[in-house]
């Protein structure tokens, strides 16, 4: 049962995947833990904004995972339950946690996912199209009335198999997030700064290039801004770091008044700090254990680290 009322507004809508992940790192392994781009992004955003989730789960989706969503007060009116099994992903991280290998992907109910936004979501001023097929991103975008600010994430798979659809989405968003590898793949340009400039020419006002443990860069016509990653003491599981970064960033933007290069930069720092907490434990475990004040404290610490 969803606790939200039919017309309660949200600040931010996030669409993406919800999955049960089986993750192996050099240090530990976990089976069927809550994962997926929308799970991480919504949990991260929920510290800052009223966040609505759009996704699909199967009949087997465990109560413990629903409880996790509830604990973040994520609005779940856009969460569909379909006949079948929940999307599953399993992967293994190499020794230094920088590269991962996918062992299996079972789309299950995700294969027939056709997002249909509740009326209250369609009026949301902010929309984050987390990593799903560009066709689904476009479908959600078309259901929105007049969003003030739209961001999209993507992955190498869509660059390879759905480039035309992806390029269409990119033209319609204000902010595109992609990692360094994807920026090179999308543009054929090896040099990262030049690759990012080419992505900017595809339409978005802001392009954020994520570099994992090396931080991120944002490109706009106003120039380039660097945001290093927070150096965590121990990475338990890097899964979802990029989604949490984007979710935190969008949550901060959705609660602010204006979108300017300065507010985007500030939001990126918050996103980076939420991401740094995320990787300190598996799934959403660490995010469940912290409060907004912990994020604020780390933001202050981070500012001391990079002040020059």
């Amino acid at each position: 049962m969803m606790s939200q009322r039919g017309n309660d507004p949200v600040d931010l809508v996030v669409v993406g995947s919800i999955g049960l992940d089986t993750v192996k790192t050099p240090l530990a392994a976990r089976r069927d833990i809550l994962g997926g781009s929308v799970s991480y992004a919504c949990a991260a955003a929920s510290f800052f904004a009223r966040t609505g989730m759009v996704g699909v789960v199967g009949r087997d989706f465990p109560e413990r995972c629903r409880a996790a969503f509830r604990s973040f007060h994520i609005d779940r009116r856009g969460l569909q339950a379909a006949d079948g099994k929940t999307f599953r992903w399993s992967g293994v991280y190499e020794r230094n946690m920088n590269s991962r290998r996918t062992l299996s992907t079972d789309l299950n109910v995700f294969a027939d996912f056709a997002p249909d936004l509740p009326a209250a979501y369609r009026k949301s001023p902010f929309l984050f199209l987390a990593n799903i097929a560009p066709e689904l991103q476009a479908r959600v975008l078309s259901q929105m009335r007049a969003p003030r600010f739209v961001a999209a994430d993507t992955m190498d798979l869509w660059i390879k198999i759905a480039r035309p659809a992806l390029l269409k989405v990119i033209r319609r968003v204000d902010l595109l997030l992609l990692n360094d590898f994807e920026a090179r793949e999308l543009t054929g340009e090896e040099h990262l700064v030049q690759a990012a400039r080419r992505v900017l020419a595809l339409g978005p006002r802001y392009v954020i290039v994520k570099k994992g443990e090396h931080g991120s860069m944002v490109f706009s016509k106003h120039g380039l801004v660097l945001v290093p990653a927070y150096p965590v003491d121990e990475v338990q599981d890097p899964t979802g770091a990029g989604d949490a970064f984007a979710g935190g960033l969008m949550g901060v933007l959705a609660r602010g008044r204006r979108i300017t290069p300065l507010t985007v930069r500030r939001a990126m720092v918050y996103g980076a700090m939420v991401a740094s907490f995320t990787v300190e434990a598996f799934s959403l475990e660490k995010l469940r254990a912290i409060r907004r004040a912990d994020i604020e404290a780390r933001v202050r610490q981070f500012r001391r680290m990079i002040r020059c």
Copy 2:
């Protein structure tokens, strides 16, 4: 002929290799260009401090390379000319400039190098032991009267073949520079933050981990500071970036009054900017084309990029 007089003081002494490099990148190739750790480090330091060079060249060392040293007003009283050929290195950079392969190394006169410091150098308050064999670093260190601040760089080769000698040097320096790979090699610790902490426990007050295009981090008992790299438009040749970073850093420290976490951080930013100019052309070409004011302008631009 050395133009410096016998007793003229220097602020900073740098010892390391001088070589003729043959470099191939995906974009271009050059043969027998001026290279070596001391060449890059001294050129970088010379923007900020009176810098003395300790190294050896062969009888074949070209006048154009001596002219390059002169153009930076590097003090060359510690430059030896030995019978034989100058040290030579050749290497090739991969497509993304992040990894390089050594094709050949000919030590030549460098094989019998026994640094012997001029009297004026022994009184220098600052010393930078650039990348050479730890035994030679120790020899230079022992010739110094009472240096206020000593930094050392190293490379993976010495970690492998001269670990005990290297550890002895590390115990005697105030600041150790090494790259991320070397920090892991030296400590056997995969996680970079933890590896750096272990290096700190080996003796130095400051440990700087260089991450190439991803910037650098400094560790001390006062905490951790992050300095992203400046995102250059086009990397022509990454050779010497780490040496220029260290040289610029030491030059700034040598001209300052006190060594504190704040002045080290500030010096790292200057080092990073000099390094960013260095990679924009082969050898010392770009550094010869710029002035101190260009470095200051880039420092200001960089501060705007990372302000948050």
